[in-house]
């Protein structure tokens, strides 16, 4: 396949995307069924052509076609073939193409489920998604064409950035993109609701599973990224408040707020304009994240200036999408219906607390991420806003989230009695207090007040996670009760449980981890540290297809008994001349033993960083549980019923609650 075919397919996709948005939006405006139906078919066509373009680029990578500039810059004949596929999205141009493909994929999925929505609403959603596709296709074709040819192809390519040559990081960007781009769906729904000044909140129900799915991908992507940083960067840290991480964390925080705010909008018809604003914000932050990470702005703002076309386009596009959405919001949001009232102690209040905490957290992360960027942009130099800032802001907010998390699910809409709620949560309360007493006894003398509070609140969230389904069972003790608990209830409980598990892991690692840099001589004396005895047995040279390096063999003993042999590596990638560490890890649920190989110190000695990480696996296990919860909730039966029927049921429910 010639690369020009890919280029042509992208141009075709652009044409179809224009048609898709015009037919969708104008069709809805003119009430023209034929136009609206055609926009669906056109959207499917747009997906097909985007897929062709992506396939052509992938084939060029697999076939080492170095006549393409992008392939020559990011691949090499010595690169193993799975990484040649990953190299497709290894840099700016290909990532954009993946972005476009994923967006077309989500659009197709919405089209396939569009029959559940009112015709005009669905057409507007597809039209808005089409507009986003147009923007990205224009950007790619005019400033970042991956199909650009080299007149004289080099014999070999410059190889993929070694950082990306790792299974977790190879699939990390696509997962993040599924999440980022997935938020385009709630964004399009929110805009469609604004355009139509919808009086009915049926769209809020229809968009909930989409939001949960996008959030699921983002959650898995972030979890994977954190795990990767842990074993690859060699510091043993699992989160660095790095701008790249923050870029994915902000949409996650707002997306989490959106999921909870949507619950209020769907069930109570309240918080509508707030929900719309969150949907706009989640996607805007996703766009910002994509651009910050992929445009090289974060590495240096001056990279922007060297290619002003790209910088100007990015800014203009962001301004158009976000600005346009917010103009629409300013005009139409006042026309959206206001929700019913509620008392201070009610489920609405707790979901509001959740929203305020998560939004403030996202705002704080945004500030910390952009502030250095602004200084750099204004040529005031490069600075770091370090983890101290983020920890100082973030830890108290998350403690409050953990404290409140148990109440949201078990309180009634509109109003409830706090004494009754506390009685419902008596068992989790007793268990968490017992747990913290045991934890303090085990770790006597280490950790302070904040650690104790953190541990207690994490345990509280864990034990209280399933209070809602348990409460449902208590109310109805007949045989079918268990089966009648909806999937969304299980999903929520599992996700809340996961958050508690993550929090427990974070507290344990931060407070009770050991870390030490040791100088070890092969065959020399063992170092006793963290309750273990560590001995460097020897080193050997290793060689891969595109790297060479050293691998240490490090024996870890406890009470004289050999527990494990860690094999940390230090690799030098030959084409890119870049050094990478591969940590040696012995992973167990309750603790990791971690060794990263540093530098040779002379006299045969090597610096080795040794760490004991209690409960570190809980952090990622919790992340996966949260994602699992989101997935289960997305497949709740009520999202599969025809929308009219299910909305009628909710209206009846609401009327019942009001009575």
């Amino acid at each position: 396949m010639t690369p020009e075919l890919g280029h042509f397919a992208l141009i075709m996709a652009l044409g179809l995307a224009v048609l898709q948005s015009v037919l969708g939006l104008a069709g809805a405006y003119r009430n023209d069924i034929a136009w609206m139906q055609t926009s669906r078919t056109v959207a499917a066509g747009q997906f097909a052509f985007t897929l062709i373009a992506f396939t052509v680029l992938t084939a060029a990578f697999l076939g080492n076609d170095f006549s393409l500039l992008y392939v020559a810059q990011n691949s090499n004949t010595a690169l193993p073939w799975p990484y040649r596929i990953a190299a497709v999205w290894g840099a700016h141009e290909g990532s954009l193409l993946l972005w476009i493909l994923v967006l077309a994929g989500w659009t197709l999925a919405v089209v396939l489920r569009a029959n559940r929505l009112p015709e005009n609403f669905a057409a507007r959603v597809i039209g808005v998604l089409g507009l986003i596709s147009v923007g990205f296709l224009l950007f790619t074709l005019f400033t970042s064409n991956p199909f650009e040819r080299l007149e004289i192809p080099p014999l070999n390519g410059r190889d993929l950035n070694p950082i990306l040559q790792d299974p977790a990081l190879a699939i990390h960007p696509p997962l993040l993109y599924f999440g980022y781009v997935g938020f385009a769906v709630p964004f399009a729904f929110a805009l469609a609701a604004l355009i139509g000044a919808e009086k009915d909140v049926a769209w809020a129900r229809a968009v909930r599973p989409w939001t949960a799915l996008a959030w699921l991908f983002l959650t898995v992507g972030i979890t994977l990224g954190s795990w990767w940083a842990y074993y690859e960067l060699g510091w043993g840290g699992w989160w660095f408040w790095d701008p790249v991480e923050n870029a994915s964390f902000m949409p996650w925080l707002i997306g989490t707020a959106l999921i909870h705010s949507l619950a209020v909008t769907e069930k109570r018809g309240a918080f509508i304009s707030w929900t719309v604003l969150l949907a706009i914000a989640a996607f805007s932050l996703s766009l910002l994240g994509t651009f910050l990470v992929r445009s090289g702005v974060l590495v240096s703002v001056h990279a922007f200036a060297t290619d002003p076309a790209r910088g100007v386009f990015i800014l203009a596009f962001l301004a158009t999408v976000v600005g346009g959405a917010l103009v629409l919001y300013a005009i139409r949001a006042p026309q959206l219906p206001a929700g019913g009232g509620f008392k201070p102690w009610s489920r609405e209040t707790f979901l509001l607390v959740n929203n305020v905490l998560l939004t403030v957290a996202a705002g704080a992360v945004l500030l910390g991420t952009l502030y250095p960027l602004f200084l750099d942009a204004l040529n005031l130099g490069k600075i770091s806003v370090g983890p101290p800032y983020f920890n100082a802001v973030f830890v108290p907010l998350m403690l409050l989230v953990l404290a409140a998390i148990a109440f949201g699910p078990i309180t009634n809409w509109k109003r409830d009695d706090w004494r009754a709620n506390v009685r419902t949560l008596k068992l989790p309360l007793v268990l968490s207090v017992a747990g913290i007493v045991v934890a303090i006894a085990i770790t006597w003398g280490r950790g302070g007040v904040i650690v104790a509070i953190g541990t207690w609140l994490a345990l509280w969230a864990i034990f209280a996670a399933f209070a809602e389904p348990v409460m449902r069972l208590r109310h109805r003790r007949d045989a079918g009760a268990l089966k009648r608990i909806p999937l969304s209830s299980w999903g929520m409980s599992i996700a809340h449980f996961g958050l508690g598990i993550s929090a427990l892991g974070i507290v344990a690692v931060s407070a009770y981890g050991f870390e030490r840099d040791a100088a070890l001589v092969p065959g020399g004396d063992a170092v006793d540290f963290g309750g273990y005895s560590w001995q460097l047995e020897g080193l050997r040279n290793i060689r891969g297809s595109n790297f060479e390096g050293e691998e240490a063999s490090l024996q870890v003993r406890r009470d004289g008994e050999l527990l494990t042999t860690l094999q940390p590596q230090k690799r030098m990638y030959t084409t890119q001349r870049a050094a990478m560490t591969e940590a040696g890890i012995d992973a167990r649920l309750d603790r990791d033993l971690y060794a990263a190989l540093g530098e040779p110190l002379g006299d045969d000695a090597w610096s080795v960083r040794l760490q004991v990480k209690p409960l570190v696996r809980f952090i990622w296990l919790g992340g996966l549980l949260m994602a699992l919860g989101g997935g289960i909730a997305a497949f709740d039966r009520r999202y599969r019923k025809p929308l009219k029927e299910s909305v009628a049921a909710t209206a009846a429910e609401r009327a019942g609650a009001n009575a």
């Binding site: 002003p308 800014l315 006042p334 600075i383």
Partner: protein
Amino acid sequence: MSWRFAIPLVVVIALVAAFWRGLFLNPGEVPSPLIGKPVPEFSLPTLHDPALTFSSDNLKGQISLLNVFGTWCPGCHDEHPLLVEWSKSPPYGVPVYGLNWAMHQPSERAAAIKWLQRVGNPYAAIGYDESGAVIMDWGVYGAPETFLIDAQGRVRLKHVGVLTEEVVQNKIVPAIERLRAEEKQ
């Protein structure tokens, strides 16, 4: 139209305007109010030995650099090799002093000592500022930052951000040369 609903739009317009300015304008350095003034008076325990002190008096008598750093700051890791290089053969014999910013993290002292042991210690002396009070007096709002101080103990230049080969050659060294020329007059 209720203005309440236009607030997000206003916020985003302000953000975009700031980005736009960042793309096209190069307003250069905003001068520190400290420039030309005597260094703020301070006295801190040194990093390696809390019994010893590092004070504003150390910065008088000869031209010197003061570098604000912390192990939590990636930019400080980036510029560190350059400082080590500097200390091996200091241009015009200008020493580099360090100000370790702990940001209320008591573990910073041990971390900094360990880090310097590993990557080399370029500093003639290091003040350890756990509370950040001295940092505040110096008007530092992020790390790394580097000050050039003349022999009379006056702040003459402030560089915000990572020191690069380019910054050292085109900014720091010429400024030192100017100070030396001044002294000769």
